[in-house]
Symmetry: C2
Amino acid sequence: MHSAGLRASAVARVTFVGGAQGEWTVERITAPRGALLAPVAAVRKVEAPEFVALDGVWALQGVRSNERYVEKREHVQLAAASAGLGRPESTCAALIPMSKSKAWWELSQDERRAILGERSGHIVKGSKYLPAIARRLFHGRDLGAEFDFLTWFEFSPADREAFEALLGELRRTEEWQYVEREVDVRLVRGAL
Amino acid sequence: MHSAGLRASAVARVTFVGGAQGEWTVERITAPRGALLAPVAAVRKVEAPEFVALDGVWALQGVRSNERYVEKREHVQLAAASAGLGRPESTCAALIPMSKSKAWWELSQDERRAILGERSGHIVKGSKYLPAIARRLFHGRDLGAEFDFLTWFEFSPADREAFEALLGELRRTEEWQYVEREVDVRLVRGAL
């Protein structure tokens, strides 16, 4: 965004650019729900002060923002169990862009927390797979971006099955009934 | 924002343009905390699918977004007590742009809710002044906008004192200790 009145961003920005080239090679793109993204050979993940211009087939935008549902005790547990992104052995990645329905966004905060946290166990399910499956969430909804969320996962080839198990658990939850569109982009590190 | 990959916005956008002309005439601009905005004669409030281009001295951007702290029982009470914006007798308005500190944004959701809700009574304090003081909250932080929040208030001239009382109550709360910048723009309806 370039506009009068904008400060140096308080939130870190990410652009995922899908195109012919990039450090992550696409294995496959599927759409568990809703419309697919156009096929591309590779994805570039650019975390930068500004969104980067599209020079590929698609560009997905998001921001790292404050936590929306995680409670303090959970934050402490997650932080202690996490190993972070960028580990050399994490040569597998997944980019999961997702949007939720109007019905979800019209729920009050306590209702959304109860569905995501208590009834769907989203935070607990993710924490079971730490530190093997590292993740980072980006928000797009307030930007008017194509997806409400972009979640980025990194893991080693040995943890591919664990990653499938995590996704399977999440997709069977009450929370996922509010997912209107979900695309699943699988990647391996290395330029084409 | 104009960029590839953006959908018709899921969230309504607002631009407050401060300049020489507009439907709201400025009475005064003060800054209870942090830097002032440049003096202007009038403000235009434009809710539209896209942000409007700057054609004045400053342009502040925000989006209507989902509720962040209000719980279902509070939502029901607020909705029942509210009268909405645009009442003919509401010829007074206030635009309060505000940003909170890094310390606030690093708190977990339950910590922020406890400070804003239970300990500062933000929602209860606002509801006491309904329907007289109507308000609408816009979010700017994820956009990288100049302010984290833009709150718009409308009320009748008879309720000016009530509005001062509301602001006074809020500014004395624990929540306000996290306010890093606050500007207070007072307006009356009518073009210059």
